[in-house]
């Protein structure tokens, strides 16, 4: 039980600053608990998003001591409380108020990705047969809770604001889930290279490090997609092979 200092960013699209608050931290508390406590005690108008408090809805994304985190999954006893705790909204998206930001860009980007296009059903009753091994590979991508922490940390978006040129790791995970699906027949490689800007990713793995669902974003989604793009656009031998043997 200790009185702890919190610096929380307060403001809106026109600007803002860190404000200091102090509240008592008790055993088992997470950052979101402290924010709620501060809301109740001294800042009734403090805006923050949350929903499940179980790391499953992806609403409470913010930056705790400069690191993108789910506030509900960040335990206070894992932080150096003697130095106080810094909480700010995600830097990559336009802020709405205090800790909330406008993440709608992510949904617009997702809509641009060509949807699932399954092959003709394998059976007369309109069903398919899928080998478990084949579906296991894309299962991991479906764990995504759309918290957008990976988008927030990705320097292509965060630092360079290339939102028009690069769709970001979350959207690449979504694309991988479709592109590598054993039933899917759609071709997204040209989009990946051009409109989605996969070449902007320089595989620095920050997205993988912050993902609360521990999706191996870079190694299992982005790099395999990059390799598919290489097959199509940069590797004359594979192109020749595919032409000759029609794969």
């Amino acid at each position: 039980m200790a009185e702890t200092n919190f610096k929380i960013w307060r403001g809106d699209a026109d600007g803002g600053d860190f404000q200091e608050y102090s509240t008592e931290v008790t055993e088992g508390m997470v950052v979101l608990d402290a924010v709620h406590q501060i809301q109740a005690e001294s800042a009734n108008d403090l805006a923050c998003r949350w929903n499940c408090k179980a790391g499953k809805c992806g609403s409470c994304s913010a930056e705790v001591n400069g690191v993108p985190k789910l506030m509900c999954m960040t335990r206070l006893n894992d932080l150096p409380l003697d130095q106080g705790v810094n909480i700010q909204p995600m830097k990559t998206f336009p802020v709405i108020k205090d800790l909330t930001c406008d993440v709608s860009w992510n949904y617009r980007v997702k809509k641009r990705i060509k949807p699932f296009k399954p092959r003709k059903p394998d059976n007369e009753d309109g069903t398919w047969n899928i080998n478990q091994d084949d579906i296991d590979r894309v299962q991991e991508f479906r764990k995504c809770i759309e918290c957008f922490l990976c988008q927030d940390v990705c320097h292509v978006l965060r630092e360079h604001q290339l939102h028009e040129e690069f769709i970001g790791p979350r959207a690449l995970v979504y694309t991988a889930a479709l592109e590598m699906h054993p039933l899917d027949t759609e071709d997204r490689l040209e989009d990946l290279k051009k409109a989605d800007g996969i070449g902007y990713c320089n595989i620095t793995k920050c997205c993988t490090h912050v993902c609360p669902e521990e999706i191996t974003i870079t190694d299992n989604a982005i790099i395999p997609l990059k390799e598919r793009v290489v097959d199509r656009f940069y590797d004359p031998l594979v192109r020749l092979f595919n032409k000759l043997f029609g794969s």
């Binding site: 001591n65 400069g66 939102h163 070449g199 595989i203 620095t204 920050c206 190694d219 097959d231």
Partner: protein
């Protein structure tokens, strides 16, 4: 819609409010790579002390042209200009260097450590412009799979060197150096066969991989190594450098190669 970043912590460079030692990994990577690059360049220029008994330094293998008994074709290639110093390492070192330089793991690591692109996750960058691997020059990184083909050839040569490392004047023997060479090839193979491009080529490209059981098996094997690709990358880098040091110091008479058998 324009996306203005939320600038919060003033104009400190690097701009971050991270409190952990975020600089530690990039600094270690910088030191590790720099040490290796300086040492391997120096060793390549020496052109001597690269063999000892049955051992051949991996920096000099395969020895296409050279003065030792390991040389394949002669002493010095005809096309080599007289005025330029010659070392057998010059003919081959481009291959492992190119393989590592274009490796997905190393790329991510040295973009951070050498280019500060970014310096670390959620830490601001010193430069405004960014083109990534989307255009020249870094688009060249896409040749990685071709470097892989060459690197796999090197595994064959280095395996042969490791086998020869047990041949002491026609008799089987084991020296500490034989084990050093053997460990070297095991670590390099662990690194090479865990390559992301290989993972794609052996089976990752297929959406219904279960229909090709052999490729599925290969994919699983590569995936297993690939999960620890970073570890293999560093262990093999360290050990390949150490192997050269070992052979060099034995050849110079500073270290003694103890015989186990």
């Amino acid at each position: 819609m324009a996306y203005e970043p939320l600038t919060i912590s003033g104009s400190r460079i690097p701009n971050t409010i991270r409190r952990d030692a975020w600089w530690r990994t990039p600094v270690l990577v910088f030191i590790g790579f720099s040490t290796f690059i300086v040492y391997s360049t120096w060793a390549a220029f020496q052109g001597e002390h690269y063999t000892f008994g049955p051992y051949l330094s991996p920096f000099y293998s395969p020895e296409l042209f050279g003065t030792s008994s390991h040389a394949w074709f002669g002493i010095r290639p005809g096309f080599w200009p007289d005025w330029f110093p010659y070392s057998p390492a010059f003919l081959i070192l481009w291959a492992p260097a190119g393989f590592r330089l274009t490796c997905y793991y190393y790329r991510g690591a040295y973009y951070k450590a050498f280019w500060a692109d970014p310096p670390a996750c959620a830490v601001s960058e010193p430069r405004k412009n960014y083109r990534g691997e989307n255009s020249f020059p870094l688009i060249i990184q896409n040749i990685h799979r071709y470097m892989l083909y060459v690197a796999m050839g090197f595994i064959v040569f280095l395996s042969w060197d490791a086998i020869l490392g047990f041949n002491f004047d026609g008799k089987f023997g084991i020296g500490v150096g034989s084990l050093v060479l053997m460990i070297n090839v095991v670590l390099l193979a662990g690194y090479t066969f865990g390559c992301h491009s290989l993972r794609h080529l052996v089976g990752g490209a297929l959406d219904q991989i279960s229909k090709s059981p052999t490729r599925q098996c290969a994919w699983k094997g590569v995936t297993c190594l690939n999960k620890k690709h970073q570890m293999w990358a560093w262990l093999s880098l360290f050990w390949v450098g150490f192997t050269d040091v070992y052979v060099r110091l034995c050849s110079m008479g500073i270290w003694t190669d103890f015989r186990i058998l």
